[in-house]
Amino acid sequence: MAIGLRPVSDARGRRFAHPQVQDAWAALDCGFAQVADVFEECASEALASFGAAQMAAYIEAARGLGKLGRGAEPMLIFLQEWPAVVAAARGDVLAPVLDLVKAMQKSPNGGAIAGFLQTLAPVARRLQAIEQLELYLDLVRELMQRTSTSIHGRHITFPSPSLPVFCRQAPQLLGLLSLGGLRNWVDYGILSHATHPERQEEYFALQSADSHAILQRERHGTLFVDVERKLELWLRALWREGELLVPYSTAFDEIRQPLPYYDSQGMRVPDVLDDAHGIAGLDRYRAVLAHMVGHRRWTLPQIADNWSPFQRMAVEFFEDCRVETLLMREFPGLRRVFLALHPKPAPGACDPQTTSCLRHRLAMLSRALIDPDHGYTDAVLGEFVARFHGLLAGAGASTAEVAQLALAWVAKTRRQSDQLARVHFADTVIDYRDDNRQMWRFIEQGDEEEAFDEERRLQRSDEPVGLPPRRYPEWDYRSVSYKPDWTSVYEALHPSGDAGKIDRLLARHAALANQLKRLLDILKPQDKVRLRYQEEGSELDLDVALRSLIDLKSGAMPDPRINMSHTTAGRNIAVMVLLDLSESLNGKLANGTQTVLELSQEAVSLLAWAIDRLGDPCAIAGFHSNTRHEVRFHHIKGFSERWDEPVKARVAAMQAGWSTRMGAALRHAGHYLAARKADKRILLLLTDGEPSDVDVDDAAYLRADARRAVDELAAKGLTTFCLSLDPKADDYVSEIFGRRWRVLDRIERLPEQLPMLYLNLTR
């Protein structure tokens, strides 16, 4: 694969080595060179996780997006983002997404398609479940329909002023609000700014006071995503459970609040829980999980067919109390939480003359079964509480045994009025308990195994080459927020050339190499360094000891510090050298013979040679970019590789082209460096200019993003240092790198200066 600019024309004729990628490319029927450039990687990522049918649908959807007459963007974004959406949503939502795109295209809102697709993956990551993502799609559609206005008497509809901004803000908003909260916030915005396009836009861009106020109002409770790790740790620590947790939305089903449940896909919990009855949201989540853990441990499914609905309801209440009793045995502290959340119905609250009181009786019984101080005086209740505890004493009984007790209870307390249509519900819903769907087996319906359409995944051996793109956010200083997943970084091993070329270059610098060698020998870690004049040490320092002995013999005060000890002077440094390989490196030096690229090759070779002699782990990589959709990251030397022929061959093949999207490259390099274990981890960037890219007009934007990336790396304990070859760099370089930079004024001295710089930095 050649680096540098590729021919723009004739993208349909582009050839790909892997047959499946080639087939997909043919099916895509795409003339955009921009898409062709990244297609191999996108297709590889998709092929690795999609089955054949899903893959075909993916390509077909992309093809359609390419024919909307909106340029390459919608197709490109879709190709890049979709696998991530599917992974985050844990399922396929292609059909509803395409539906929505179609609706946008048909309305005057087609311009919002690219922006909508762009944030879908981060939105999906926030929502984490396919059902939630579908609700989000509904919300977008509703917003679009309600804010696209038409003026009376004229057949023109105006695009929604708020749709594009909303899509852009959605990931950030979902970081603060549950889906329900988001819907309320959207509602308010639509209703109060229906006739004012500018105000509406401001509201949805979070730039107006009422927008912030509503946001604060809707922001309540504990969001699942914010405590997910805590909950996972808690399940593992207390219960040794490694189950997947999947949130569901609590806001869209007002008549019947969905209940938690679990199945083979994981444990389903509400997306947000408010503090209630003095119990914090986090502890309410824990109660929900504990209860389900109890069932998973101790509940054996029962055959439902022979029992009436009333009997089943009673069995569920008894079994719920049984597992909670066992849970509290293991962790007594749970009782406080359960009791705070469990309603305590008043004995006389339900009138059996007019109302079905079954639920009421069961809720009281349930309370009494887990609360030693329940205070109820009903004799039958007392009898069953005693029988329950008798049954559970010792091993804790079984689901079947407790079910028999439940049936006895139903027989004993049955009332004619239980059949009444009016059911007493108040204080009978125990909302931390799951819906008990796992407790029942229905014979008649037939327990069919869930049929999986197990499509054959790609075998390892026929997997195409090319790593899937990594996506990084970009910092937008104007909105003071990250644009999630904004850049796609493609990485690959740099192609190889003639290693001999590098040896010839190095030979030209023999004198310099000799000079460096002397310096290196000084810096090279000595296994041991002597610490002399120690009162206590590992060895006698004979010189000093003799002197002291003489002193002693001649009656003078001897120096007691006659020992010495050793310490190691090891260097514990890992360095990543990151090379800007943008087009400007092809420029010639003032002397007219050499290019900056050639000079960089020499400098990097000398540096790599020097570091290799020192023994510091060192990696080298180059980068350049062609819009945010295509940041290329070339691995030239890995940390574990020596400075040897294959590495030299890669340096020899270095080429320059395209632009400098610095932030993305810094983040990706930092990703590798952060994985190293070393006391000092240094990212050394060699560049000849400021960040720039063809899809960005505002130079300050990429500078601010690079600055942000440097800060992110610093937060990870990585030190970034920039050596700039741009004589005008002073204007901006400190804005990005703080105090950690140097500008090389005489570029011809780069081969000498780069290694020296490194040695000085790490002295």
């Binding site: 740790l233 808690w234 620590a237 207390l238 962790f331 749970l334 590992s538």
Partner: protein
Amino acid sequence: MSNREQFLVKAEPFYQAQGREVELYAAAYAARLPVMVKGPTGCGKSRFVEYMAWKLGKPLVSVACNEDMTASDLVGRYLLDAGGTRWLDGPLTTAARIGAICYLDEIVEARQDTTVVIHPLTDHRRNLPLDKKGEVVEAHPDFQLVISYNPGYQSLMKDLKQSTKQRFTAFDFDYPEAGLEAGIVATETGIDAATAGRLIQVAQAARNLKGHGLDEGISTRLVVYAATLMRQGVAAGDACRMAMVRPITDDADIRATLDNAIDSVFG
């Protein structure tokens, strides 16, 4: 002779066997085979060796290894006194001379060039050359070498050399099963068995997180500390947080989880 005397374990240490390690160790000692005791921090390795020394009636010379330790710290060195220089045996040499069990605790903490000095003592040679002194110490017939190390904790940089490992027979220790461990804590500290069991429950919650944010769980030693604090009248929650949770993690989510485990266990 008095030198030997001073290294004898006087009183019987309390040691709760976890399996057949006592008889197996005795067999290894009878053949004077070097022994390696592997296991996480604070699971009873040192206590076991101490107990075995007592049971076999042999002196015990213990060395806590560390990074700054040099070969001289083990073997010995010249010191200066009024009459000139004087050789002082290091603990390894002493053990070899008097026929002690020499216990090198956490051996991987020492640098590898230090650990090689033990090699001649661990094979048929059973001797220790004192290069500086020009003497070769032949090991006493009772001498035995025991090392301990924690395979889970150390970095890749700090593993035992294969050539060193290959010289030892080995025991794999782990935290005892809950009932046994509670018994140990109760006996060590005099706390009641039920409370000891609760403390173990908290420790196990942390051990379940090993590899999920914790390098090591809560050791038996830390549980003993917590129980000791409670015997001093410290409330259970405070004792657990101070002795068991705070020492092992700075991760806020893990701390919250273990704090909740404490509250859940002690109600």
